[in-house]
Symmetry: C2
Subunit: 207 residues, 2 copies
């Protein structure tokens, strides 16, 4: 069974690359499906789950340490449950045993036992701003400044999310099997090059 995990900078095209890799390689593809599954299991709204998992203010609360404020305790408990549920959903995907691409959700860390092919996808800030501006629905164009702020906020949350559950650093080359910079690429052109690299990686490891 082959699992490809994709961590990515916001606006780098990592999600599109993941979907195209799944197409080219004939793998299953998981992205929002994971949020949906967590929400269903917890009887919660999807939007709430997504926001709670992205809002990593709670990282500053050691998970093993009691708090005297009930509101923090409840928040902590909800988010711990969500993280546990996230791990369960990912384990379920692994147990299904089908080759797949998983975008986001710290799947490389949470499924480390499965030895996934872990990727990090990044791009220059300017390239990411451009990509976000191009893909915004018509009439919903955000200002450059608003997009740049979103990029910084979301990437910071992603970095923190990883730090809670891993010693390895988000975005640092050594944390992944392969890191690709999409600056100047069309994702569709990049897909073949990455797919070939992955095929060789699996040939090498005899998987």
């Amino acid at each position: 069974m082959k699992i490809i995990t994709i961590s990515r900078e916001f606006g780098s095209g990592g999600r599109e690359l993941g979907r195209r890799l799944a197409d080219v390689l004939g793998f299953d593809y998981y992205d929002r499906e994971i949020i949906t599954a967590i929400a269903q299991a917890q009887g919660m709204d999807e939007g709430y789950v997504e926001k709670a998992l992205e809002d990593h203010a709670w990282q500053h609360i050691p998970l093993t340490y009691g708090r005297s404020f009930a509101s923090s305790a409840i928040l902590q408990s909800t988010q711990t449950n969500l993280l546990i549920e996230q791990k369960k959903v990912l384990d379920g995907i692994a147990r299904a045993g089908k080759d797949c691409v998983i975008v986001g959700r710290d799947a490389d860390v949470l499924l480390a036992d499965q030895k996934p092919f872990s990727m990090f996808v990044c791009a220059d800030l300017e390239a990411r701003i451009q990509r976000c501006m191009e893909r915004a629905p018509e009439g919903e164009g955000l200002s450059r400044k608003a997009i740049e702020q979103s990029i910084r906020r979301i990437d910071k949350a992603r970095a923190r999310s990883r730090e809670i559950i891993s010693d390895s650093r988000w975005g640092q080359g050594g944390s992944y099997c392969l890191t690709v910079n999409t600056t100047g690429w069309q994702i569709k052109d990049l897909t073949g090059a990455v797919a070939d690299y992955i095929r060789r990686w699996y040939e090498r490891s005899g998987a």
Copy 2:
């Protein structure tokens, strides 16, 4: 003209990958030749030049700021001269106009105008220790601990060296076109996969 630059973690096999890429692609290869050229131009010993360029204690001395201690001033002046000479040697390589692979020496930063294909090569600490132990000349085997200390010291110096002349972070995915993790690979098996990726990168950019 195509320039491939290779930055690497100590013990990751980056140098071997560079040499093999040069062979496979039919490119010139530069590594120690740069130190030799700097030493010759400055009338200095090669070992001294290498040590001076690696000893980045001087990074804490702002290059534009005078010091009241003569010894520091001399040290600063020597190392500034070496850095300038390093840039000159790299510019000379670029002016020669031949496709080449350059290992180390912050060539991706110093030759940024040439838009090189910049790589970072890394590996898990354990894999790097193993590689260092295997390639040590017989009878010169260092202890695990000594190797680990060397790895940390040299990588720290490399990270600092880059920071003096660039805003981008050493080893961070976004600082390079491609980052490969050699853990579990034989470098000879990895070479073809990387060479193919690079060929596609140049096809894409129409270079």
